[in-house]
């Protein structure tokens, strides 16, 4: 059998690493050679975590090559999208519909958050085979512990892999905390049977995007010597020297609060001020 590849992606705290250990063990129990590699994007709760598992008669590399994964399991929608390029054409996508915004993703500096992608499987139509969208967290909660959501996801994943239930159950028993073995096995089977949701039935993402932060660039004109350093280093071009070589704030709206101008001002003349009342008000 040629090697099979599975990519598990989620954020810290979702049990991605444990789930990948279970899968690896299940494959091992089934007599395959297994290689597994995990990447913790950020060593903190909430940071992106991805794990690659490959198994087969012989496996050389632990890394799933691009566009070859048989299954991509997204414990989180945005993370699933992020790793989509690894999925083979026609590969299966399993996704927990519960959405979490990873804190480190901050393409929009002002909100320190990504514009969260809409949960819309049709947007990736043609790039995947089967799409299984389940409320893994909700199912696990019904069973008694939301932490078992990873087992629910793995149950759904098992539909696309040729590993016996016995192997899965043995692997679960080996890795989850002893008192939660039964719960996780129950969750695993619930995941095997879970019906794919219609996105239309999924409530709008209960995610509060951070309000936009507006920063005030407080320039003490009496101290500023118009040296030109801040306009030269401002990444958003908020500051400029005018024709008279005087410093002017030209685009305060664009300020992302990076404070480079403040820390590189030799004249102590700039302070970046978050208006009082704004979320995360710095001062």
């Amino acid at each position: 059998m040629s090697a099979r590849g599975v990519v598990l992606a989620g954020v810290g705290g979702q049990g991605v690493v444990l789930a990948s250990a279970v899968l690896a063990e299940a494959a091992l129990q089934s007599g395959f050679e297994v290689k597994q590699s995990e990447v913790h994007g950020m060593a903190q709760r909430g940071g992106a975590v991805v794990s690659h598992i490959r198994y087969g008669d012989t496996v050389a590399s632990p890394i799933v090559p691009l566009a070859t994964a048989d299954v991509l399991a997204g414990f989180e929608w945005a993370e699933a999208l992020r790793w989509l390029p690894y999925l083979a054409p026609g590969g299966a996508l399993v996704v927990d519909a519960r959405r979490i915004v990873p804190p480190g993703a901050c393409r929009d500096h002002r909100r320190w958050g990504v514009p969260y992608p809409p949960l819309d499987p049709t947007s990736i139509a043609g790039r995947t085979g089967a799409v299984v969208l389940i409320d893994a967290t909700g199912i696990a909660g019904t069973l008694g512990n939301v932490k078992a959501a990873n087992s629910v996801v793995m149950g759904a994943v098992s539909r696309f892999l040729d590993l016996s239930d016995a192997a899965w159950e043995k692997a679960i028993a080996r890795f989850v905390p002893p008192r939660t073995v039964d719960l996780n096995i129950e969750a695993f089977h619930a995941g095997q049977q879970a019906e794919t949701l219609d996105p239309a039935d999924i409530p709008e993402l209960g995610l509060d995007p951070l309000p936009e932060r507006h920063y005030h660039i407080d320039v003490n004109e009496a101290w500023c010597k118009d040296c030109g350093i801040c306009p030269s280093i401002c990444p958003e071009f908020c500051l400029a020297l005018d024709d008279a070589h005087r410093l002017v704030v030209v685009d305060e709206e664009a300020c992302t609060g990076c404070r480079l101008c403040e820390v590189l001002c030799p004249d102590f003349a700039i302070r970046i001020v978050t208006p009082v009342g704004a979320q995360g008000g710095a001062r």
């Binding site: 350093i229 590189l264 102590f268």
Partner: protein
């Protein structure tokens, strides 16, 4: 890391400061203030001693006890302050001419004693306050008002000097990296023993003008290139055909370059 507002640590009534537009010394001073705040130092118990020169003038704007001493002698004054009142945190601001030429003797002996001081040496490769004369740190080939044909003397490596003299914490940082400066200053201020931090700074008014390195913004970029990790020799930057080509500086190692624990001199019977 919390954001530190440094204005409460400034003598606002004395501002704006006397340094030229674009001179990076103020960036260093700001990072130092952040570090004193982060290190949790009571401003009433912080003393900053300075020698003579541009960098030394900065201390007048810091709202601590500030002692603007004589040329090169700041380590001696600081020694007196620290020995007489050990519970004070004592730092020294010095320039390259101040600390390495006229004050070299005091610097090496303060390091040898391992007295609990933090010395910040601003290296802008020139005497700024007196009008751009060559300094002990001026790169070979560089132009100063007293080396109109290019400096023929080699430059001092203050870090090697300080390690040799016995400083127990030695670091080099660049004014172009203020966040690193904040971190290194915090470590230096909390180090028990003699801590020395050379900061690569600039002088757009003289060194920049004489050597055609541009104004403040350009010189900040030039500072970045002094770092051995990204070294781009002065020679490559200069477009001065009629002048001798300066010897390419090797680039300087940045970061905390030496750290050890060794007995601290207190001048008292009970250490």
């Amino acid at each position: 890391m919390t954001i530190v507002d440094i204005r409460p640590h400034l003598r606002e009534w004395a501002m704006p400061h006397v340094l030229c537009a674009g001179c990076a010394h103020g960036i260093v001073g700001r990072a130092f203030l952040v570090a004193t705040d982060r290190a949790g130092i009571d401003p009433d118990r912080m003393v900053v001693v300075a020698g003579i020169g541009c960098s030394s003038r900065l201390v007048g704007y810091l709202d601590f006890c500030t002692l603007h001493a004589t040329h090169g002698r700041a380590p001696a004054f600081a020694t007196g302050v620290k020995l007489a009142r050990p519970e004070l945190t004592v730092a020294v601001f010095s320039g390259d001419g101040d600390g390495l030429a006229i004050g070299g003797n005091h610097l090496i002996h303060a390091a040898r004693r391992n007295i609990d001081l933090t010395v910040v040496l601003f290296n802008n490769e020139i005497y700024g306050m007196t009008g751009g004369q060559v300094a002990p740190t001026t790169q070979r080939g560089a132009i100063a008002s007293t080396t109109p044909r290019g400096n023929t003397e080699p430059a001092f490596d203050s870090v090697a000097l300080m390690i040799g003299a016995g400083a127990s914490f030695v670091a080099r940082a660049s004014a172009s990296e203020p966040f690193t400066l904040e971190r290194i200053f915090t470590e230096a201020l909390t180090h028990r023993g003699f801590a020395f931090v050379e900061v690569l700074s600039d002088c757009p008014t003289y060194f920049g003008r004489y050597n055609r390195l541009g104004d403040g913004p350009e010189m900040l970029a030039w500072l970045t290139r002094q770092d051995s990790r990204v070294a781009e020799p002065l020679a490559a930057k200069r477009v001065v055909d009629h002048l001798p080509i300066p010897e390419a500086p090797p680039g300087l190692d940045l970061g905390v370059l030496h750290r050890e624990e060794r007995p601290v001199f207190t001048g008292r019977r009970s250490g």
